[in-house]
Symmetry: C2
Subunit: 153 residues, 2 copies
């Protein structure tokens, strides 16, 4: 049963992540000024694949546990926000609104991490890399917004 | 506690639904040939607001219940797919891919309805209007795709 639950959570992750393929960075992003510590493009899908496996594992472990209401509600919230950033940033090219979405995503991921941890320590730990990566993404979004005032909106 | 859980599920709904404001139908949609039974534009946000209240209530009721793993995983999947359709259809204007997303959304909503019902009958019933509305949206997407072969892709 836990493998079915894991597969459904993983499908939710890839549904959100499919926005990455649908709204690719393209020339617009390539031409933006970026900070020196910007991760290379190939790292993003690789990192997200690992994060999705961690997120789905955490979701499945806690779904199978009692007293999971808060964690399950927050897991749903963070995946809805996760799928929102790429269409806003790469689709609409609205960097400022993208930063707002990332801020909301960061808060929801942090809250989910704490709620998962209260049910299952391993599930909470599995959300740590995700929170780190969203922090990096937020710093990158902020830097790009500041470095490109001419195209920022 | 159930009100906090309800509010978080409702926030997830509005995160997915915010794509409706970010990728508005606009002139492109207005100029498309549409079937005679197309609902008026004002009905969409009104219907979604009611559906979100039903979806969040169903989510909160089942989150507070035992043996909710399958229902909670599916609730997360359907909200991730829910937020995907508008960027695909109105953002990318890819009607064919939009129909694929709606098909996946329909299946996930139907599965969530059944899984919710097994835990809590009222929660299952609260997903019935959602499934009906996604069926209407799917029929509309298919009709628009067929009526506008010149712009369909």
């Amino acid at each position: 049963m836990i493998y079915v639950i894991f597969a459904i959570f993983l499908a939710a992750c890839f549904a959100a992540g499919s926005t990455g393929g649908l709204f690719p960075p393209g020339d617009w992003y390539a031409r933006l000024k970026k900070p020196w510590w910007t991760p290379p493009n190939w790292l993003f899908p690789a990192a997200w694949t690992i994060l999705y496996l961690c997120m789905a594992t955490a979701g499945a472990r806690v779904a199978m546990s009692p007293d999971n209401a808060l964690a399950m509600a927050l897991w749903a919230l963070q995946i809805a926000l996760n799928g929102l950033w790429t269409p806003v940033f790469f689709g609409l090219r609205r960097m400022g609104l993208g930063l707002v979405v990332l801020g909301a995503l960061w808060l929801s991921v942090a809250a989910t991490l704490v709620a998962l941890w209260q049910v299952d320590t391993i599930a909470g730990l599995l959300f740590v890399p995700y929170l780190v990566w969203v922090s990096v993404a937020g710093a990158l979004n902020l830097s790009v917004l500041r470095l490109n005032p001419d195209v920022a909106r």
